[in-house]
Symmetry: D2
Subunit: 339 residues, 4 copies
């Protein structure tokens, strides 16, 4: 922590701050410039936050030198985290392909979807049983019935199930059926929910919030890991910007950056990230090239009948072609997709 004193700071104010810091058992290092004095604090930034430095007389601003991440960074764990989802790995050489409809609509639709995406190369079936929706008047999901359908689809296909959990009350029941618990973008800073899934022994797929910085995403992962669950998968799904051609702006530099900062696997959702099915395939390939460990893609057996997000869903045929293209990209990157 560096404390930049204002040009007009008095000596007594500087001493006051030094005293407050030293009372906490920390050391300081004072540097007097031509214009401003800078106080360097040596020791944990977690302790120094007990003093409201920026509100103290004479302080212009403070600058944090070290982050407070404990568990998410490569400082904590240099090698990649590889998560074993009941026999299928995420974060290793193999690219994880997750696909399926946005929402679970019926058993028939789901089983058909599952078979089609499995044929196309998916190892995970995605599909929402609990759906967070902007309007209270929109379809909110089949809830436990939907979970049962997902379990049935797993039984029939062997695909692992990824599905969203929207509150801590329903977390246990979702965990009963799911292989991977998804936290949606709107819940990325629902800290109670993060703590709840941190206590469950299931991998968590954590989607980046619509306006969340990388730092906030990493702290959200830190919430989960801090409760004991180290199996966290980060997911870039687009951020909100002024551009309105796409539904969101898919931030692939976030993928490259997260892979450098963190040991956790990172996957990308090009369907929500763009909101336009014609952009899904190029952005899926670009995501892999940026370093993603997997993809989560909306596929619907018949997009014309989807109850939500139809316009961003791929047909099974388009999905098959996308995976084939991705196989070539994965090889060029020294990774693989096993069909």
């Amino acid at each position: 922590m560096l404390i930049i004193m204002s040009k007009t700071a008095k000596q007594s104010q500087i001493e006051n701050i030094i005293n407050r810091i030293e009372e906490l058992g920390l050391k300081v290092h004072v540097s007097k410039g031509d214009v401003k004095t800078i106080i360097g604090v040596i020791g944990s930034e977690r302790i120094i936050t007990q003093i409201p430095l920026e509100a103290m007389h004479g302080v212009e601003k403070t600058i944090s030198i070290t982050s407070n991440y404990q568990l998410v960074t490569r400082d904590f764990k240099p090698e990649n985290t590889v998560i074993d989802v009941n026999g299928v790995e995420i974060g290793g050489l193999e690219i994880a392909i997750m696909a399926g409809p946005c929402a679970v609509e019926s058993l028939e639709q789901l089983i058909l979807s599952a078979k089609l995406v499995k044929e196309g190369g998916a190892k995970f079936l995605r599909g929402g049983a609990y759906k967070p929706r902007t309007s209270p008047y929109s379809f909110q999901g089949l809830e436990e019935d939907g979970l049962k359908m997902l379990a049935k689809a797993r039984e029939e296909t062997g695909l692992k199930i990824v599905t969203e959990v929207i509150d801590s009350e329903s977390a246990p029941i979702v965990a009963e059926y799911a292989d991977v618990l998804q936290i949606g973008a709107r819940n990325m800073q629902n800290f109670q929910l993060l703590k709840a899934v941190g206590k469950i022994n299931k991998p968590v797929l954590l989607k980046r919030g619509l306006a969340a910085t990388l730092s906030e995403l990493l702290y959200a992962a830190e919430y989960i890991m801090n409760e004991g669950n180290y199996n966290v998968i980060l997911c870039e799904r687009g951020i909100r910007t002024f551009e309105d051609y796409t539904r969101n702006t898919l931030d692939l530099s976030a993928v490259a950056a997260l892979k450098q900062i963190s040991h956790l696997p990172v996957i990308v959702d090009p369907s929500h990230g763009t909101g336009r099915w014609k952009l899904v395939a190029p952005m899926a390939k670009a995501a892999l090239a940026a370093g993603a460990d997997g993809l989560i893609i909306e596929v619907h057996p018949n997009p014309e009948d989807a109850l939500s997000d139809g316009a961003q869903s791929l047909t099974p045929e388009n999905f098959n072609n996308l995976v084939k293209d991705c196989v070539l990209i994965a090889e060029a990157l020294g990774r693989k997709i096993t069909l």
Copy 2:
């Protein structure tokens, strides 16, 4: 709903869509242009959302003509909603002044704060007992102990209590102590929480999310009202933009717009909205001029000792001056602040 068909749409595709719409009992109105055909759908847009129009062959895009708001707009209730908080009104002629520390830290601090902000002109005491924090390692609030301190401060000063509720589990206990339940920006689309406070018979102060559109804020209010609780206060608290001089960008045109669209009271939080105490007073005055029904302001008896957000807290003296200035602005606007 208008459906814009692509240039290359075939007649059979146009007819297919018309059939699907008519099967739902809706009427269509087809308009053939030089280049494109447009299908107008007459009837409820809630019904039409059952068809995934944008994914259907030949459809270029759809355009929504009417919104699906039911309860929040002036179409539903033309006159202003005035909320009675145990004898103090929000949304009438009188400007509601809410003030206090960001977090409840101790009984002494809170009682002192309460007395000082009451002297300054506040009718509501704000202060968090449950604190949603970006990092799991930051101070998370005194929880029920904090609530008890708030109740004690009310007892001593008569101020009404505004405090945050962070999940549906703790909502009942917060409601036991609070006069107004605050939903924080990060929870604006925590739909389970919105439903939970919608079932509680207490006014709700709903903060706009960091990247929420006005439409999403209004739908969040709609979630609460749809459960039966019509006492919702909207709160603008800054949105996330590229500008980094301020912590957030306080969007006062949102205040003017919300007052035109909705009958609900709108208040402004210039403390979080700017993150800089020197900007709080001018933005508080600007908020009133834009049409705000109230202000929620961080005041700390001694900002140098605040456990969080110290840099945006006002001293009691600065708060007093701010309210005095606001009295003059309120008069110029034909409103009032009773000291």
Copy 3:
């Protein structure tokens, strides 16, 4: 300037950097923490930019402590700059009211507009003769003919003329007719144009770019002042964000901040800032309360016939009412609008 060395920086790398800095005649102050070493550079930051510190081995990041503003800040000139526009002041007690159509369309329209806005309380007539337009196929302005019409309107009404200059070639001719040269938002970082108007002896109204930070706006003003023209008026006109209800997001905290940082007058354009005429009046009042020294407002004698931006233009009647409301706000703020 502070240089934060990475955790893994070697002693030789630290010494290399110190040597490079000392070669430039600057002093350093080294502070070794538990984890990282920090090198403070004492002396001008303009000199240190000759070294590409962030690319040097062992450097994690650099932090600028002082800005390089020379002329725009209150450090340079503590008191407000008051600009005399041929007898009418901007930046003093009196609020400057500028109004008129977006584009000059015809002499009749302009003379009528000028008379109407003068009646309503304006002291300045705005109107574009050169129009920067997104599409090459949109109306691009009447150019010199438009300038002549503006001069004629000044002759008939005594209003001062504010009009846009779009390139350095046409700057001299615009300067011949105008009282205030406007630099549009899209040209805020057209540095050649900034230098050109910096050499002309006329006040410049500098609009903030669509995605310009406050710092960039101040540096743009610095470009003009650095050429010798100290009569710069800053103008907030809305920034680009994700919110699409308004055309732009009017950032009034920028107004409050600019008034604190800089001695230059600041005005606000609520017409372009919101893009909706119903929001212009509340945002004009809010702008004054935030500290603005003036307003620039689109008024059209008959908005239904305007060639551009009709939807954000006020009728003369609405403009009159707006000014009357602003008179009351100005008084409450200890300022004035002379009708």
Copy 4:
């Protein structure tokens, strides 16, 4: 064009609008819904913009159905535009690699850079002789001396020269030396400059503005093409968002979208797009996967000595590795990079 009338629009207002449109020789198609009337306008949207529809009584909003692009879209020219830059193609199967220092600093540095990037696989040398800089006190380029050095570097290496033109005055002299004229992000809507380069018979590399929508970028290209110069290369270089880990947010979905909408070649600048050299290689690969026709990359023989942007420059060694990786990606995509 669709005109949505407000709920409360009167029949006389509807008729007034229809009359105004028909006076222009256009046809209308009126559709009366339960709640609102919609007027469809059949014919050119360029004609209809003469009427300020949104300001007319009874109009709620207007919706544009067709764009006004004339030249940039695949409607105008379905096949890819391949630009021949004195024997080297951009937009064909071969990926165009442009590399070099941000600014021309000296002849030795430039010749060395040119030789190194040529060895690494570049066919184009980039380097600024005229530098638009935020602060007037920053290094502004060597101007014509820099151009001469670029010409000398071309002579020695055969690389084609890409360099920035910052105003219409200096455009002819830059055109004398350059093979490709670059328009920088801050000048994307400097319409005078766009017109100027539109009249010069040299390819133009047009960078997307910091907050420009795809539509605005395409219209900027339209300005150039409308003057007769059809050799325009679009360049994505990052947009401004709330995320501050990267200098900008590189929007690769823009690349995929532009390739679908337009026939023009699209290249990507991952150096400015991320501002961090460690992210340049993954984002270069991702750009190709998203469909880019080329890359423009900052390389400096010794980044530690670069006068600007050092932190985002690659070393020649890193550049060589990047190109080698890109060769594999290009092959996987059915394209090629000839070394």
